[in-house]
Symmetry: C2
């Protein structure tokens, strides 16, 4: 227990899964049913300050400039409890967090948020965890946050241990590609990932086949990254995305995360590909579209995506670094 | 063999499957892997004349005012061959067919086309088949055509016989509902149903689960029609549609029949339902949207669908009658 350090600021970037995570094998410990492969993105970051303060009557959360309560605060408090248990530090904390992109709109804000929180909270509590331990802790806040601890291409292992000790991410490689994000709206998504995953696992007739077909996609994704084969990676990304949504669509009732703009953007990306541009789409639990391509093709992809009715903005993201400490001290 | 009748004109209406047909167990005989339940629609019809003429050097096809060759002509010739074999009539035929709606754009034009052709060709050849035999013959032209022989709600049996003798449709009930069709474009669809079904069956990890989960949807659809329970029917229709597309999306590469307007219309229909309107969507191998509702709600549904960006036209269809002979003689 360290009393002289009680404050830390950390930053983490979001990541986009190319081989998707969808479904938990243990919801309490946030253990995934399947592994995943992602790319951490530069430009879509969360900066979080954690300040342990003995004078506080309760943990507090300020999210993008506004005091937060309810579910977001509860999730933060649970992570702080884990940090308090691991560090022996007592007392409440004030957490101040801000994203430089829309919250809970399918841009994986929980990934960057819980990666930044895990790093800031452990440092503020006087702990200095290695990447694997940080990844394990971040996972307790959000499954995808385990990947944002690391930069570049990252693989999250589903793991087999009951306590989740091996449900952690590890870096695979760095490789200069681009992810062009097409923002299709700034609204909140209709079904949160955790709820959508549970509903899919419980009611979709395709969920078992999703889990069973997944290891082959992971192997293909890993091999594509090892060989720097953008076409192979793009193909596995597109099919993993469509399979994830196909399984969710078949839930009862079906979950439809896409908007019209999402689908029109998918067609636009396939049309670009027919024209010889190496670009493949992916998309998560929201309406935004992400296009994977080589750096040289990014301007053309960005222009094409921006021309789709309903796409309000594009962001071109190079690979990003892992979570970093920005400040620490009293 | 009858020489004095050599010409007949028949009309058949399209139908929309509420419990979907997707996948064949025998492509040569066009035997479906799963049964289906449909509604035959008034207002979307094909009128076909077949004229057996000994002076013709070959079968000919005029489709919507234009001489047709290639695949459409080949499919028509194959059906005429079956009629010639069954009737003993020799000689070629001139077939003239026209739709009052866009061809091959996901409005099941092959359903009305082959139902009308089966009826017109058999009558022109001097045969008078019952509904079951006509349904069996129409199926050889197009799986969904087997249902358009009958009016109202119709069930197509997958059947178990190797020769397809029990792969036929039969009427279930008549019940006054409305199907509001939202036309999202007049273009040809990208992947024809037969090709899409084959690709899904061969490559989708979800295809087996689709086939296995299907009998429960058929039973639910049948029960809903027996009890005139529009909500139960709508729910099974929506989930059968999303499951069919979910399976096709997971094919490799994934098949995406929807346009942006399709998906925006789905959301619009769900929003109407949240507002208390009893309306449910379905959609086939193309971008158009079909909304099932009570007659009294149809004007509101039509107006809402028409307001969706990309929906160019709406058609409100009551249940339609089965295939009928319009003229016959020399």
């Amino acid at each position: 227990m360290s009393l002289h350090i009680n404050r830390a600021v950390a930053e983490a970037r979001t990541n986009i899964a190319l081989v998707k995570y969808w479904g938990k094998r243990n919801e309490a410990l946030n253990l995934p049913a399947v592994g995943s492969i992602s790319l951490t993105l530069d430009g879509l970051a969360t900066r979080t300050e954690v300040r342990f303060d003995p004078s506080l009557a309760a943990d507090t959360l300020n999210l993008n400039g506004t005091p937060a309560a309810g579910k977001p605060l509860t999730r933060v408090m649970r992570l702080l409890d884990l940090v308090r248990a691991a560090s022996g530090r007592t007392g409440h904390a004030a957490v101040t967090s801000s994203n430089n992109f829309p919250t809970a709109a399918g841009l994986a804000s929980s990934a960057s948020a819980f990666a930044a929180l895990a790093l800031a909270a452990t440092r503020a509590a006087g702990l200095s965890l290695d990447g694997a331990a940080l990844s394990n802790l971040a996972r307790r806040g959000s499954g995808s946050a385990a990947r944002s601890i690391f930069g570049g291409f990252v693989e999250m292992k589903a793991g087999t241990q009951e306590d989740g000790g091996d449900s952690i991410a590890a870096p695979l490689a760095t490789w200069d590609v681009r992810m062009v994000v097409g923002i299709t709206g700034e609204g909140m998504k209709a079904t949160l990932s955790t709820d959508g995953m549970r509903h899919t696992a419980e009611t979709s007739p395709y969920y078992r086949a999703w889990v069973e077909s997944h290891p082959a996609d992971l192997a293909a994704g890993r091999a594509a990254i090892v060989h720097r084969d953008l076409q192979a990676l793009g193909e596995v990304a597109e099919r993993s995305c469509l399979s994830m949504h196909g399984s969710a669509l078949a839930a009862r009732p079906g979950i439809l995360y896409w908007s019209g703009a999402t689908v029109d953007a998918f067609h636009m990306i396939r049309a670009l590909r027919s024209d010889g541009v190496g670009v493949w789409f992916t998309n998560d639990a929201g309406p935004h579209v992400k296009a994977l391509c080589a750096p040289a093709d990014a301007p053309r992809v960005e222009k094409a995506l921006a021309s789709v009715h309903g796409v309000v903005r594009t962001i071109c993201c190079p690979p990003g670094a892992g979570a970093v400490v920005i400040e620490e001290g009293a």
